[in-house]
């Protein structure tokens, strides 16, 4: 994690346009990732199912096997955690060893000869599954994990035998409230200990433990503890069964009804890669998406709830003079106000950029403000600094501060300057693109709005600033648009539209372009003047040519959301 923690140092890289790694493509890890080979690593030869291959010395045998194309199953192994070898699913035969070895716990040695699916191994694997299922409750119809359950998958793939036992199952607690966000079902737990290791190794707060022995063994919180660490919901993701469930997601939607859209968390400057899980144009949860450069396999609990703001008192229709109006009228009114300000001299217009906007929105706005209107007073707004840790959470609660600063190119001033300029009457007209954080905690008292001749706000949510605006235009929020965010490392990461915009809201770049057209200053992206640019991609490509920090960024492929029904299992 160390490379992602030093926010200050890496932020400097943005300004120089240092090469940035392309965002990771969405990937459903079916097994272990390929071993990473550093130059100068000692290589050993290992034969897996008759296929000889070279791997770095000390590679985890399970990873080597699955990289070689074998399908070695596992419950307790996780590529981001240590291996305790408790589930016995990954046993393989190694020549010269009397018993099968747990491959997740075995480093590769030179000249090792491995058989991943010998009859003995398959038999043990099947017996272990039968043993695991012995006390497993018949919960699939009411279990949140059903449909994405690893136990279901492994049973179907490796056991597929009917029960030989109809004895009474050992009963344990069905719903234990173990933390702020999580409910535990001890009966469903298959004792893989992944969650314990997430708490200990990722969150670095060991809160979970095993208690009792034999078939009475249960997962529980350590005495006097609750599962309250800021990364607790990662335990739900890694849980191979439905033992740990999220209170937020629990019983809201079946997994197979969900569609996964790859995106990036907007909660802070870290930019954890996420999947937005939607069904029928409604977001149900965010889960982390693997990206070794940014967040590995994890994200914080706070980030998971950022989706809720999509449904939080949104501005869904343009407003002019306090009344709901059509887009046409609202744009005309906004253009009229701006024209009047231009007539007074361009120095009278102030423009507020938002660190919550995408690079595309910011770029289109910078074109309008600096190139077309010749604005000299521009400001950057965003949410206030918050808490941070040295794991994933950044103190900067804006997803695109780096992008805003780079696109502003040193011309953006602070919100304090904005307040002073408004107070002194230096600006008479204010155009705000993204209202979030403009007023800060102080509400309207922080900014003497009454001093302004006109106020035009492009906003996501209703609030004091939007209410005070002469013209308010609805902005499509993060999960509703295509675009890019630049995180604290300077990595330009792609976000994708997962749900349609609220009401009549439009993406920021589109509103800015429409406004520019009304002003008689049409913006060109990629050399094509248009009332409305063809797509966010066109704006991105144009921005990439002009902006050094985006030089190596990639828009990525167009892809349909993945139907979780056919993604087999998660966790």
């Amino acid at each position: 994690m160390s490379e992602t923690t030093d926010g200050q140092k890496t932020t400097l890289k943005i300004m120089t346009g240092a090469p940035v790694p392309a965002p990771a493509e969405p990937l459903y890890a079916t097994g272990a990732p390929a071993p990473v080979v550093q130059p100068g690593t000692e290589m050993v030869t290992v034969t897996i199912d008759g296929k000889a291959m070279q791997v770095p010395k000390g590679t985890n045998l399970l990873e080597a096997c699955n990289h070689a194309g074998a399908d070695v199953p596992f419950f307790c192994y996780h590529p981001g955690l240590s291996s305790p070898a408790v589930c016995r699913q990954c046993l393989v035969d190694v020549k010269g060893q009397p018993k099968p070895v747990p491959s997740c716990y075995t480093p590769v040695a030179d000249k090792m000869e491995v058989t991943t699916a010998s009859p003995r191994v398959l038999d043990i694997r099947r017996q272990m599954l039968e043993f695991t299922l012995l006390n497993h409750p018949i919960d699939c119809p009411i279990c949140d994990k059903a449909g994405e359950c690893t136990l279901q998958k492994q049973y179907f793939d490796w056991d597929a035998k009917y029960a030989r036992n109809d004895g009474i199952k050992v009963h344990k607690a069905k719903h234990v409230d173990i933390g702020k966000h999580i409910v535990l079902d001890q009966e469903r737990c298959i004792l893989c200990t992944r969650c314990i290791r997430v708490c200990a190794e990722v969150a670095q707060q060991p809160e979970l433990t095993m208690a009792q022995r034999g078939d009475h063994e249960v997962l529980t919180t350590a005495p006097g503890k609750r599962l309250d660490n800021p990364y607790s919901l990662n335990t739900v993701d890694v849980c191979p069964v439905g033992a740990l469930t999220s209170k937020d997601f629990r019983f809201t939607m079946r997994a197979w009804e969900l569609q996964a859209t790859p995106s990036v968390c907007p909660g802070c400057a870290t930019g954890c890669n996420v999947e937005v899980h939607t069904s029928r144009e409604q977001i149900y949860r965010l889960v982390p998406r693997e990206n070794p450069y940014v967040n590995q396999y994890w994200m914080c609990d706070e980030g998971r709830f950022t989706y809720k703001r999509i449904y939080d008192d949104r501005l869904g229709q343009p407003m002019s003079g306090g009344e709901l109006v059509e887009w046409d009228r609202a744009l005309e009114d906004a253009a009229r106000l701006l024209r009047a300000a231009v007539d007074q001299g361009p120095g009278k217009i102030g423009v507020v950029f938002s660190a919550q906007s995408t690079n595309e929105d910011l770029y289109a706005l910078s074109r309008l403000a600096f190139d077309s209107l010749g604005v000299t007073r521009a400001y950057v707004a965003g949410l206030d600094q918050g808490w941070s840790d040295n794991i994933l959470v950044s103190a900067d609660k804006n997803p695109n501060t780096a992008g805003a600063i780079a696109i502003g190119g040193g011309r953006l001033k602070s919100l304090m300057d904005l307040a002073n300029d408004v107070k002194s009457g230096a600006i008479s007209t204010l155009l705000v693109v993204g209202e979030r954080g403009v007023l800060g905690d102080g509400g309207t008292s922080a900014l003497p709005i009454s001093k302004l001749q006109s106020l035009i706000v492009l906003g996501w949510r209703k609030g004091p600033l939007v209410n005070a605006a002469h013209v308010a235009l609805p902005l499509a929020d993060w999960a509703e648009i295509d675009g890019t965010f630049t995180n604290r490392q300077g990595t330009v990461q792609r976000i994708r539209a997962a749900v349609p915009p609220a009401g009549d809201a439009l993406p920021g770049w589109e509103i800015v372009t429409l406004l520019a057209h009304r002003l008689g200053m049409p913006l060109e992206f990629g050399g094509r003047p248009s009332t409305s640019p063809p797509s966010a991609r066109a704006v991105f490509l144009d921005a990439r040519e002009k902006m050094a920090f985006m030089k190596n960024a990639d828009w990525g492929r167009t892809s349909l959301p993945i139907q979780l029904r056919f993604a087999n299992s998660r966790g």
Partner: protein, 421 residues
Amino acid sequence: MDTTLTPSPATAPAGTRRVVLGVQEPEDMDLPTDPIPLNMGPSHPAMHGTVRMVLDVEGEKISNVDIQIGYLHRCFEKESEHATYTQIFPYTDRLNYVSPMLNNIGYAMAVETLLGITDKIPERAQYVRVIVGEMSRMTDHMTCLGAGAMELGAFTVFLYLLKAREWFYEMLEEISGARLTHSYMRIGGLSADLPEGLTTKLLDVIQRTRGVVDECGKLLNRNRIFRDRMDGIGIITKDEAIAWGVTGPVGRSTGLDYDVRKDHPYLVYDQFDFDVPVGSVGDNFDRYMCRVEEIAQSMRIIEQAIAKMPAGPVMVDDPRLRLPTKTETYNSIEAMIAHFKVIMDGIHVPPGEVYSFTEAGNGELGFYIVSDGTGRPWKCRVRPPCFANVAILPKVLPGLFIADIVPTFGMINMIGGECDR
């Protein structure tokens, strides 16, 4: 006009059976006409299942035909890529919808071949498949013959044959729960065994059906009106049939001795004694007679199958294929998971490709399936026998009269659901 009993050189090549009526038309008696285009269909009583023919006619005579199919296109093949292997059965019901069981069988066998479990299908299931398949073949032929005869004026035959067809539909409904859209097969066997006492009823129905078919034969086989419009009309030669890929009763009427059940035996067809009727001329009457005889052969097969059918299971006992019973599902986690996975993920078919073909009502019904190892086919292509049979019509129809389209198209027996998919 002078009528004789000699073959007409204008319409029937030498050696054909057309001896009944010929109209001598000297060149100078032809009225000068301009070719005009004429639309037949898509909505026309004789255009079974919606097809459009754009004809160029000179007087009553057809000079060119453009057959436009596709009105019943339902994206079967594309839809199949989004359905699990089991969910495709209801779609196959709607291919040739007068013999859905045969489509069920053809599709099930294709997937079973890909799974490599063809020899593991319980014997009883194979016998039941033969029985219901032959029942479906009979309903298919009876529909074709009844409708064909009706279009030539023999409404009685239509009612008689559909009465018999209905007896079989009732049997099939008793077996599968649905009169037409059976979805009775499963990958690995059947959804259920035959109902108790069904075979006895079936033998009785077969006896009665023999009477009906004989009666219809008496009404049609020597009927002047019927023969005049069937004999020597729409001739397809054996070589043409091979070149166009024409199979089934239409192909066999040309003398092409090809029946998948005999030439590439599947299920337990090699256990039965039955004949493959073959025509000699390849005209409408041959196609009619081939179907009549095939009905008789199907009844023979069913009687033998009922006599030989062993007891036993009708589904392979593999949790990866079989849907567990409700009792098993609600009482063990293993069966619960198996039930869940078979329904939600579908049966996992190993990666590979297969072309599997069976003898359906209209000829060789082929399924070409490509699997990528998931629960849904990566590609599911159908070779509908109708498609090839209809494709030869632009070769056959020119030179005939407009009225000849009706019996010729009727005896080709295009089924839109199958041809257009």
